[in-house]
Symmetry: D2
Subunit: 365 residues, 4 copies
């Protein structure tokens, strides 16, 4: 049995950081050793620095780790660093880490739009990691030191949206038009302060800053393909796919619900039953690679008329599975359906950990 | 000053019935005299029969009315009867009332699809009442007794949807495509038992039985036109307008939020600013007729990025005004926007009362 | 008809300040002229400075007032100033106002424990204002300029607690023991950020910093009496009354529910029916003085087994009335009951306005 | 390894029944074989009969069990039957089971007040099962057939209340006075329909029918002792302990929060630190007996000022552990504190399963 890889977490006291810590505790492949946070927390034991707000207890193994500040020197022994930093801070810190030769998987939005940075939903487009492989190979061939790199986790609501699209595109060809209206959980907004109680009690906030643009843009990158020279991702063009998102914040703790509709380019479109079967049959590469966290069933197709529901269905396959229900014909496009994904697992920290497992399976870390 | 018209309420102990009673208390045009409910309640004082669950106290004037059973004989002195009956019971009861020569405004779905029954959102298509006018005129000319009739209130979520469409169609021509994803309040489902608490706490129910079909169909009737002979409503055809609805139940007490998108038939489409101005300028006929409950501002166009919100905006113009926000271009259709309407006022009992006020203004009762 | 008194509001952009503004709009006795806020807001129109989050629209009359900073010079024409300042800022600002001769009614906690500052729940202990009267008279007799003064509004949960106690003590003598467990609304915590959504969704926070101590202490002051020389309030001693509070934050927007129990000193204790009758019969002095906002029915005694409920009962008498239900014998003390009060009306801004109306009725401003 | 005991569940389609099924799936000691429900469900596969509303999927092993009706003949091979029947039906059905010689553990209230029926919270008073042992022994000695019997699970809110009392009484002697105000979750009310959404959204229901009386009475039985002849339980008398409960329903899915206060009979009372240490040190008998479901830590004493919270703390020790926080001196009694227990685990089905494990450990089934 191979020694575990050494892992670090940036932004360890925040909401995403706490989730990384939970997912890495007792992980068969990784050993969490370094926790980075703001200077205010640095120097304290993690148990004293963090305002722990998870339903699972803080792992014993994390309690006594002394929090570091976020400079790469403190993480130089890490094989992989997971960043849960806020976008406000992530930019220069993550850049410094990459320059220091560190492998970073980031939940922040800062580098998602760099053309040579893979934007990865691990149950959807792990092949975009070929760009990193190419960098590593090039450096190796040139006799250079192993370079640092960054891989971005997608926006939480984008992850749920693209999950069912991947197998559909593989089976039935490109999507011409895609619309989604989201009902997003509040955990995605963190908790200091996150979404105000008075804003979600008996209420809907029909707006999440920047979210619609992220969804419309990121979908084009995730469904795009790696360039022939493996140097960058080629986005789908606005001509290739039209995407429209409307985003709402609702009084749900975890689990983003999306009412989506889509139209294929090819005619005739598949049947409802073909769409369902295609989704049911999908096995993501990460599962084939036997990654520890990969979902056994990537897409759960639900037949009950009133499902998926966030409280009941968000934890399928420990939050790594995506649930799709109400698949039916649409009077405007071809199909409409409801997609539910766990925003802090497949939509954030969980994706980060599964990406790391893929890197490991591919010997990239 | 004219004597008040005598009003009755069917289904008086239910959720919709209670709202009718509140809206008719101290009404300048109507005097509530008869309350009909199930045999279980009949014979009791209303205060003893009803499980009153409104935020306003039961009107003193209603407390001591002895509840009748729902036969037309008890309502023969009524100039107008408002029906809040459940669909399960409404069919034969309302039919019996009409046959007995009574004017009925019903919130039930049973007769909405009859071609000679107007389906009216009073701030949108009061001209559909011409069908009733024609019936009354015909009977009068023939020297027959004044006939009974039924007018249907639209489905609650349809009311909010069509409100902004009316002025847009008037100004910019027909709509080619219309999509809506709703986030609907629980008050619409009544309260015995209505929506279960465990179903909406930290949850979304992505399904409301029959609702999507109602929205798609009723829109075509409400935006349709009265036939030349005023005998029936001519629905928009599926070729004239494509409509798709996705309906969700959320943890909101009152106020349906809808994320809609639409495309006009005519090119070029208007600008965002033209759309806003058109909505702001709209004055509904009921207001022009000086109906008591008509909204001063029919459509409230909100400029803040995160509005409308149900808790904050549902009570504009006492629930008779509709709020529209986030009007912006859509990458798929022409525009997307968020519409908020008060489901128990403009979406149910309130519409019923305003329809009656229009009937009165037109001397139809 | 007398000219309206000129009013100002400190902390005008905050949650309490917004409520003051709503209550003062169209007030028959006061004209709102000056709005004070932080330097960040000063110089802007109120409509541009405030993040308005009320269910009623911002009063037209407030929209274009230019926000001032919080120095007394800007408020020198005010007959009365209402302070909704956070405790963090209220101390020196309110002090400076009083020294400048201004009459201040404050919602902040800073001066509540000063023995010569009345802590007033206007439906309970307006007679504590005698201390201010004495100050005014003394200055007048001495030929001095009219002095500034401060009157404190009680803590929101204390207001609801003491409301039914006042008539009970008046009728049945002193209370020996009092316990309360509160279920408090989130609006009391303001909204920037206030209570976090994730903290109240599917959750209870069984702690509100400082609240239990405030309730236990303030009760002793409000139920205490003015000293013979009218110089200060004499608190009830721990020997005179034992008070214990347990405070919880719950997912309610407005309205504090309290499960209270109490024991009288005198034996035999009154009967349940006597307690109910005493509460029903209570008419607060402010109502007798014909103050504009005073509740017609101070205490609403509810007989239904499952009332009061915050959503249904918080708006009795526009939030100035207090609802009491489930009055029954207690196996431990004499009685237990449920008390509901509107935390932002009788528990905060509304009390401030009613205190000002009492001052006016007494010719003290 | 011994063969598993055969288990049945009555009321299998209901909320409590579903929880029993989840807890019994993959249980090392029990094999679930018989599911009983109403005639409406009998004859169907469980997957077709149940409206499954748990966050965990229906166990595969239960899906295809054909639902029986609730007559003992169908359960004659069961070593133990768990009843989740509604009180409306439980009376005669459970009686018939006992007469047929079957061992029943019931969540219904019907037989709790029978003096020879143990009312057991398994982490508190398993010694009350001696009454059953005595019955079994007597029958055996008399050469009679093994008799049926019934053991009652306590009311959900009582379970949480008595959990910390047990070790306190053991260490510091009897309790003189006990008060509790509950904030109870809605899952306890089942889901067809259970608590209505409109009743708990932005609201509190300050009343749960019969609950206060149950808590006051059941506490006296659970803390009482088995008679010398082991024929019945001797309740604490009203003179021995005064108990007062006030019960509220709040918008929480699972987890009852209780604000309790208590006074010991003995003087001097222990210190806060002694109380905490006593609770921390408590190891319930079921854990000592190595029962599968017994909590490793029976009482979790929390030091953070704002804990326990239902969303964060209800799942300690899989819902079998009880959390206690804010232990502090009380100005009226000796101590006040906040207790949180999982109402469907230690407060209902979970207790039933743990009682069965104790029966097995004692060779009573």
């Amino acid at each position: 049995m191979a020694a575990k890889k050494v892992a670090g977490v940036l932004g360890a006291t925040g909401s995403v950081g706490q989730r990384f810590i939970l997912l890495l505790a007792d992980h068969p492949d990784f050993e969490l050793r370094v926790l980075g946070a703001s200077p205010r927390s640095a120097g304290k034991k993690y148990i004293d620095a963090a305002n722990w707000k998870q339903t699972d207890l803080m792992p014993k193994s994390a309690e006594n780790i002394i929090v570091s500040d976020c400079s790469s020197a403190n993480f130089k022994d890490c094989d992989i660093v997971f960043s849960g930093l806020d976008a406000e801070y992530a930019g220069p810190i993550e850049k410094e880490f990459v320059e220091a030769g560190i492998a970073v998987i980031s939940n922040a939005k800062n580098y998602r739009r760099e053309e040579d940075v893979p934007l990865v939903v691990p149950i959807v487009n792990p092949e975009h990691l070929d760009i990193i492989q190419q960098k590593l190979d090039t450096a190796k061939e040139a006799g250079k030191q192993r370079p640092g790199f960054i891989i971005c986790i997608s926006n939480c609501s984008t992850a749920g949206l693209v999950a069912p699209l991947k197998p559909l595109v593989d089976s039935f060809g490109p999507i011409d038009t895609l619309t989604t209206t989201t009902l997003q959980a509040i955990s995605g907004a963190g908790f200091s302060p996150g979404v105000s109680g008075i804003d979600v009690l008996d209420n809907i906030i029909p707006y999440i800053g920047g979210e619609e643009d992220k969804m419309e843009w990121e979908t084009k990158k995730i469904l795009g393909s790696v360039s022939t020279d493996k140097s960058h991702v080629e986005l789908l063009t606005p001509e290739e796919i039209k995407v429209s998102a409307q985003c709402n914040r609702v009084a749900v703790s975890d689990g983003h619900t999306e009412c989506i509709a889509l139209k294929f380019k090819n005619r005739p479109a598949p049947s409802v039953e073909q769409v369902k079967q295609c989704l049911r049959d999908y096995v993501c590469d990460a599962y084939k690679m036997k990654c520890h966290s990969a979902p056994e069933q990537t897409i759960h197709v639900l037949e009950q008329s009133d499902r998926p529901q966030p409280r009941l269905d968000r934890n399928r396959d420990r939050g790594y599975g995506v649930s799709v229900g109400r698949i039916r014909e649409d009077p405007v496009l071809d199909f409409k359906m409801v997609v539910l994904s766990h925003n802090t697992i497949i939509g954030a920290a969980g994706s980060g950990v599964l990406i790391a497992e893929i890197l490991l399976a591919r010997n990239m870390i």
